[in-house]
């Protein structure tokens, strides 16, 4: 049976790992390579590493860091941050990274994903959409943002995700800005909208505060990726840094329970 993917998502800023809340207040949580080693030992399903400086600073991906991550990482790795060209994607894949995530550049020009898919195959091209509830008195629905939620785009998020899928994305990562770091559960209604609209695998990020939250996501939308930030780097209500991950038996139990309750 194919299992839901339970994926630690690590944010890199100035070479260190941080964890944000609603994309703000980055708190230093440690060294990226050390975290990768711990997730190797815990046999995490996959790993997502996002450099949250690169696009905002308008710079290229840090290929030195990516090479170190790839050399250490013994699970499938997805890298994102500052990727704007098919050449960069090919270079990153050649370093030993399975998947490359693109956001701002693909939202501005979805056809970029076609070039990337032609270079490395659709299975290695991931589109990330940072979404938040529109604010304002009469605002309804969600909007897509880039540049660490500092720029908003006009397109409808779900329609855009379908367009990115058609252009060549082999996976869509949906990141809830509103839920980021709050640890109060995934936005299940939002997740359902994306899962129903898309043919490619989808991964949801933002809100996981317990293994039960992951179970609820899987019950609602089926076998998807459940990406996790705070829950796997913090312990307790004082948010002490402690890298953690469910044991194989916890994961098996979680999947079994969630899928037996599944309506997807």
């Amino acid at each position: 049976m194919l299992r839901p993917r339970i994926i630690p998502c690590l944010l890199v800023q100035q070479g260190g790992l941080v964890k944000t809340q609603a994309f703000k207040d980055p708190k230093y949580v440690g060294d990226p390579i050390n975290a990768v080693k711990i997730f190797n030992e815990k046999e995490a399903d996959e790993l997502i590493v996002l450099d949250i400086d690169a696009t905002v600073q308008g710079r290229d991906p840090d290929f030195g860091l990516i090479a170190k991550l790839a050399a250490e990482c013994r699970m499938p790795l997805c890298y994102g941050g500052g990727v704007t060209t098919a050449e960069q994607v090919a270079r990153i894949v050649d370093m030993g990274v399975e998947k490359v995530a693109v956001s701002a550049a693909a939202i501005i020009n979805p056809l970029l994903l076609s070039e990337m898919a032609a270079a490395v195959g659709q299975q290695s091209v991931v589109a990330v959409l940072d979404v938040r509830k529109k604010s304002g008195l009469f605002a309804k629905g969600f909007e897509v943002c880039t540049h660490n939620a500092k720029q908003a785009h006009k397109q409808d998020p779900v329609a855009l995700s379908v367009q990115l899928q058609e252009a060549g994305a082999g996976e869509i990562v949906v990141n809830s800005i509103d839920r980021d770091g709050l640890m109060q559960g995934y936005d299940l209604d939002l997740a359902e909208q994306f899962r129903k609209a898309l043919k490619v695998p989808v991964t949801f990020l933002g809100g996981a505060g317990s293994l039960d939250d992951i179970g609820q996501l899987v019950s609602r939308v089926g076998v998807v990726g459940a990406a996790v930030g705070s829950l796997f780097v913090f312990k307790g209500k004082y948010r002490a840094v402690l890298i953690n991950y469910p044991t194989p038996s916890q994961k098996t139990q979680l999947c079994r329970d969630a899928l037996s309750k599944s309506f997807a």
């Binding site: 194919l2 399903d45 013994r74 299975q123």
Partner: protein, 205 residues
């Protein structure tokens, strides 16, 4: 030593990392001259079938590989698209495959039992291993899992060549073994202790 066939397609670095952690000597082969000392061959592959076949054909290594595998019985394992290349051909493309293991590569999307599932088949899945399979000779527990990432699957002509199946809408041929020629659709280089065991067993063939 183990030679990883580097014809410009596939995650060579991940294999190098894995073999290094296993303390097994493995190097890339970029040209026929690099293949001379090979005791074992890894044929990786990702992306489009035709692209991979074209790059292998253009690499200049294909005649040497055919002589080594079919003539001299050097063990080989094809990984992901590298497994698919062992077939006669693929529904994904028009170029002929290596035809080392009779079979054809088919699209999940064309199979009625899988057409409505998310594609690619991505993530960790259980495999049902046929007993006696050399790649599982040592060390495995009862429920091995591997990481998969693919939209096409190998359909072996001779089911006696199938060494493991996995389920995604249908039971498909996840691994094949025909003599010293092996193919695995999953990514053992990224499948934690199960993948390490499989590659270690291959290295000890």
């Amino acid at each position: 030593m183990i030679r990883i066939v580097d014809y410009g397609v596939g995650n060579i670095q991940a294999f190098m990392t894995m073999f290094k952690s296993l303390d097994i000597n493995a190097e890339r082969a970029l040209a026929p001259s690099d293949l001379v000392d090979a005791t074992h061959l890894i044929l990786p592959g990702v992306g489009h079938f035709d692209h991979a076949m074209q790059r292998l054909n253009d690499s200049g290594m294909r005649p040497a590989l055919e002589a080594m595998v079919q003539g001299n019985g050097i063990p080989v394992v094809g990984i992901c698209v590298g497994m698919q290349m062992l077939a006669a051909g693929s529904d994904e493309g028009s170029l002929p495959g290596l035809n080392w293991v009779p079979g054809r590569v088919r699209a999940f999307a064309k199979h009625p039992k899988a057409a409505n599932l998310p594609m690619p088949h991505m993530g960790w899945n259980d495999v049902q291993v046929v007993s006696g399979t050399p790649l599982f000779a040592k060390g495995f527990d009862n429920a091995p899992q591997f990481y998969f990432l693919h939209s096409f699957y190998f359909d072996a002509e001779n089911k006696a060549d199938v060494s493991a199946t996995a389920h995604y809408g249908l039971d498909f041929d996840a691994m094949v073994s025909r003599g010293r020629i092996h193919g695995v659709q999953c990514h053992p280089e990224k499948s934690h202790h199960w993948g390490a065991l499989l590659l270690k067993n291959f290295a000890e063939l």
